[in-house]
């Protein structure tokens, strides 16, 4: 049940006489200053948690307004200027200020050092700096929104962004640029931490798959984000000083901007899914009490996705006037990326075989993830197929496809991970029944919101349209109805999780009887995670379904 030789000693030994030694929330005080100057990875994780929820709410309001506007065909509720700002706000905030930091910077920050038996990340001050960069970037973005917004879409395509838009493009790009450096530093911190801070006995193939996935994510953060930074900087140069590197009037090529942008933004899609896979590998094993099926394959699939993710970007540009031969190369590589993703799904499925399955909230989210990610992944094949994509690109089919991955995949996994580690983070249990209810409602709401968009997309409904021909209305109405259900499903956990902070049941050190070092220390953990450095002598997921059954049948 545990991966430690001496875990009882760790749990029992307490240097202080009190029954409960201070945890990370108490040690160092609870003043605002103690939080804003903390270098504790757990506190930084929580700072991120609050910040990304803040940005999520703004972006969600933008989405809600858009869905309301789209209930009727004419653009009658908001003006087209407003609508364009709304989807830009939604895209920019969701991508850079919610999804990219969502699991890595919150749950990742919180559990990575604990999972590898370390006291903290390698560079705790740098970790705090990442958060401040994130916030500084966020303030620029918010500023850009408050002073009139931006209407370029999150893709900032030139020459519209560099020469034609009359909005605060530079401020928004600056925000993304700064936040980008925050995520580079987070990735750097994780890479070094995973390489250099593992506790004795924790070899690479004894690492939980969460670590493998986040390592793969960090590779992308470190190697892709700088290209986004320089691309946005070049775009801003044109806007500020007329240094038109992509300006067609000087012989510049707007399509080069797209190459550079997607060299970052396609791998970034995997920043937005690998951490979700990371969470699912943890929860699906825990709640089926099973060793993961094909550990090595799942681990290497993460790395394969990270690497292959870098060679597929051109599939966003099949109709951009790029060479059709390049299109073929990128189409082929896109199909290749689908294989390791499929391997993961198959392995999770087989993990359930001969398990001892319970349906706690994190498990429901994990199963939801598999379902929605499968649909998202399979529709990815449609848009990787060259001629089909020519028809589908820039339609609602693509919108539905990436929401299945990013919301159905990443947000679902984030919710699952948040529930899974909530006892560790807060020291309190969440209300289980409400959790299960929210997970089910989310599943229904999500599918109702986004499935109609596939059909609408094949019919030819273009994305980023403020008004549309009336034959698409039925699907927009269904989608908006689903969105309101989805909204409720996301709101519910916020309420009961906040409630549980005060009124939830006190959580034991290991409520799920999970393996993994983070469960071998009290909930909430002490400031430096472990009282003694743990020593590991076996691989992860050392579960026994038979033993769990005995506990059920013969009592604890």
């Amino acid at each position: 049940m545990n991966t430690l030789v001496d875990s009882p000693a760790i749990l029992d030994e307490s240097p202080l006489k009190t029954a409960e030694p201070p945890n990370y929330l108490q040690e160092g005080g609870s003043t605002l200053k103690s939080w804003l100057l903390t270098t504790d990875h757990k506190r930084i994780g929580i700072l991120y948690l609050y910040s990304i929820i803040f940005f999520f709410l703004i972006a969600a309001v933008a989405a809600a307004l858009m869905r309301m506007e789209l209930i009727t065909p004419p653009g009658d509720m908001v003006s087209s200027e407003m609508y364009n700002r709304l989807f830009t706000i939604h895209g920019v905030l969701m991508v850079w200020f919610f999804l990219i930091p969502s699991i890595p910077a919150t749950l990742g920050n919180f559990v990575i050092p604990m999972m590898i038996g370390a006291r903290d990340v390698s560079f705790p001050k740098l970790n705090l700096l990442s958060w401040y960069l994130f916030i500084a970037g966020g303030l620029f973005a918010l500023g850009a929104i408050l002073f009139g917004g931006v209407d370029t879409g999150w893709t900032f395509y030139t020459p519209f962004s560099s020469a034609y838009s009359n909005t605060h493009v530079v401020a928004m790009a600056t925000g993304v640029f700064i936040a980008g450096f925050g995520s580079i530093l987070t990735g750097l911190n994780f890479i070094v931490t995973i390489h250099k801070m593992r506790c004795p006995g924790l070899t690479w193939f004894r690492l939980p798959l969460f670590i493998w996935s986040l390592y793969a994510t960090s590779i992308i953060l470190v190697l892709a984000t700088p290209v986004l930074a320089i691309t946005l900087a070049l775009m801003a140069l044109e806007r500020i000083w007329g240094l038109g590197i992509f300006d067609p009037k000087l012989g510049g090529d707007p399509v080069l901007f797209q190459h550079l942008f997607w060299f970052y933004s396609h791998p970034a899609v995997y920043i937005m899914i690998l951490p979700g896979m990371a969470v699912v590998s943890e929860t699906i094993t825990c709640f089926s009490r099973k060793q993961i099926f094909g550990y090595h394959f799942v681990a290497f699939a993460s790395v394969a996705i990270a690497i292959l993710g870098f060679v597929a970007w051109g599939h966003h540009m099949f109709v951009s006037s790029q060479s059709i031969y390049a299109g073929m190369v990128f189409s082929m590589t896109s199909f290749l990326v689908s294989v390791p993703s499929a391997v993961k799904v198959f392995n999770w499925t087989m993990t359930l075989h001969r398990g001892s399955i319970t349906f706690h909230t994190p498990m429901l989210y994990a199963l939801g993830f598999i379902g929605l990610f499968t649909v998202g992944g399979l529709t990815g094949l449609f848009v990787a197929t060259l001629p089909v994509d020519v028809h589908l690109t820039d339609t609602y089919f693509v919108v539905a496809h990436f929401h299945y991955i990013m919301v159905g995949g990443m947000v679902t996994a984030f919710m699952g991970g948040l529930h899974y580690w909530w006892p560790k983070i807060s020291g309190r249990m969440y209300p289980e029944k409400l959790g299960q209810l929210a997970a089910l409602v989310m599943y229904i709401g999500f599918n109702l919101t986004f499935f109609p968009q596939f059909i609408m997309g094949y019919l030819g409904m273009p994305r980023r349209y403020h008004a549309y021909p009336e034959e698409f209305q039925i699907y927009h109405v269904l989608s908006s109805a689903g969105a309101s259900i989805l909204g409720a499903a996301y709101l519910l956990p916020f309420i009961y999780l906040l409630w549980s902070l005060k009124h939830g049941k006190k959580a034991p050190a290991n409520p799920w009887q999970a393996t993994g070092l983070e469960w071998q220390t009290p909930s909430p953990p002490p400031q430096h995670n472990f009282r003694n450095t743990p020593v590991v002598d076996r691989g992860p997921y050392d579960y026994s379904p038979e033993k769990s059954e005995e506990e059920v049948i013969y009592g604890q």
Binding site: D120, L126, L188, I191, L243
Partner: protein, 212 residues
């Protein structure tokens, strides 16, 4: 990123772990930097490939003398930086400071010369836009956009490096570095050498097209 105390930072077990982590961290950061500059190098490759004549014509207006002298200065500053790291490893307090100051001096020389060069470039109307120098092909402006962006960003990196080195020199003067603890010097050295490497490529790409 590394603590300036001789004591091992609390998240680490021992000094080797701390040093390895810092060095690995810097290498990771440099990989990031490779791709940061890489975006512009790629734009350069694409456009030079599309407009070889315009690039040759435009490059002819860069000031080869300044560029060459600056290359020599930066290469030499890499030598003094390497020597500073070596002196720190030998616990040679006096020479750490001297080599660091020498490196800073060379870095400043580079920036001053670059400043003169920029001044002359501007006087020649080589800033792209409506007042761009007459008689050059339109696409020459693309070259000059790249010139300003690449050298400007490089100069920014030199400036950051000078800041880092100044802090190091100050710390070294207070005897912070020895054979037991010299990670900051070594890690900053890596950064400085990287900045040098960027220039090693900028020099032939910007200054040396069709000089015959």
């Amino acid at each position: 990123m590394a603590n300036s105390h001789v004591a091992v930072a609390e998240q680490f077990d021992d000094m080797p772990q701390q040093q390895e982590a810092s060095t690995l961290g810097m290498w990771t950061f440099l990989a990031t930097e490779v791709l940061f500059f890489g975006g512009m190098f790629m734009a350069y490759i694409i456009y030079r490939n599309l407009y070889p004549h315009a690039f040759a014509a435009a490059s002819g207006h860069t000031i080869l003398l300044y560029g060459t002298i600056n290359t020599g200065i930066l290469l030499t500053s890499s030598l003094t930086m390497a020597m500073a790291v070596y002196a720190a490893q030998q616990s040679n307090q006096k020479w750490v400071v001297r080599y660091l100051l020498l490196t800073i001096f060379l870095g400043c020389c580079f920036l001053v010369i670059k400043g003169f060069e920029y001044h002359d470039d501007l006087k020649e109307h080589l800033w792209p836009g409506p007042n761009f120098k007459q008689g050059l092909p339109v696409q020459a402006q693309i070259f000059w956009v790249l010139y300003w962006a690449m050298t400007g960003l490089h100069a920014l990196h030199v400036t950051v490096g000078l800041g880092l080195l100044s802090v190091l020199a100050w710390l070294a003067r207070h005897g912070k570095f020895s054979e037991h603890y010299n990670t900051p010097v070594e890690v900053s050295g890596l950064y400085w050498h990287f900045v040098d490497i960027v220039w090693i490529f900028l020099y032939p790409l910007l200054y040396l097209i069709n000089r015959y």
